[in-house]
Symmetry: C2
Subunit: 174 residues, 2 copies
Amino acid sequence: MPELTGVQKQYILHWGEMGTRWGINRTVAQIHALLYLSPKALPAEEIAETLSVARSNVSTSIRELETWGIVRAVHVLGDRREHYESMKDVWEMFRLVIEQRKRREIDPTREILRQCLADLDPKEAGADYTRERLEAMAGFFEAVTELYDQMKGLPTGMVRKILRMGTKVKKKAR
Amino acid sequence: MPELTGVQKQYILHWGEMGTRWGINRTVAQIHALLYLSPKALPAEEIAETLSVARSNVSTSIRELETWGIVRAVHVLGDRREHYESMKDVWEMFRLVIEQRKRREIDPTREILRQCLADLDPKEAGADYTRERLEAMAGFFEAVTELYDQMKGLPTGMVRKILRMGTKVKKKAR
DNA sequence: CTGTATATTCTGTTTGTACTGAAAGAAACG
DNA sequence: CGTTTCTTTCAGTACAAACAGAATATACAG
């Protein structure tokens, strides 16, 4: 992947942009896009050149992608450098990302909500109302967690099957 | 909601933090948290004081929340100021946010992917591989869209029902 | 052991977003 | 119609995140 074609550029740029909107570093996202499109693993040096970013920046970003579990280092015979490749299974990739975001953000939020509910002083003015709101929010996050637990481990094709059942249920319901 | 209790502070701070991680402005998220907890609509002035941010900042942030459709202005008799209140239905709130993020981010991504696939020059080196990858990605986004379309409009309780069916399907499958 | 290639860490610098305060603009009131 | 009250817009500032490049560390070859 020495020089990028127009299409590749477009995809990489857009992916970087998407990243920023979801709180993911632009360069991290771009590198991922590049590796995703690349048929072979790439050394950091080449990534840096292709995307015109500093070698050090690539190093940091790759590490980030490795912690997400969607990029890994592979070794090429006769080359001392590490080569990096992206996971190619899109569903699995997003599953991993979602799993981690759940762990990093949803779970702590549930924890905070529980904490808040525990800390609520019933003598405080308006405590009832606050409790009501916090409980509604907590309920939502519990449901989302439940949903996640159900979904995880479902093979890809299964999701669609369930969706179709959903349609039926909906129709029956009205 | 003149002075905040400890619990309220904790919730608002955490919510602001969550916002930043999902690409939503901290102040915007904090204001939403405040309004969500508030039993009555609040004037901008009071929001600014409570959160210690500039009045103008509140103005901008409120507008943002209004475009999401989860906060609206209401009028209080004998008060010329606008008062703002948050939607209280958590499910509906998230539905609105997801709907808009889909429109702003998922839909354009689908469009770009289609564009890329259309622009792919089969004569270009490695075009086959690129196509393969882009199509996999496009397929994922189509599925997500389908999923969204199915979900939207489902009454809150229905989601759980479907989840339970999902469990059954899963069990049958193995 | 020494020299070279590669990777990582660290330190300023840059950049972009968020924010403030001032000024302009509306709306309500007397 | 002028004054007051409130809201929005705008221009500059502050701040945090991202980044480049240098310095350092690590691995390897001869």
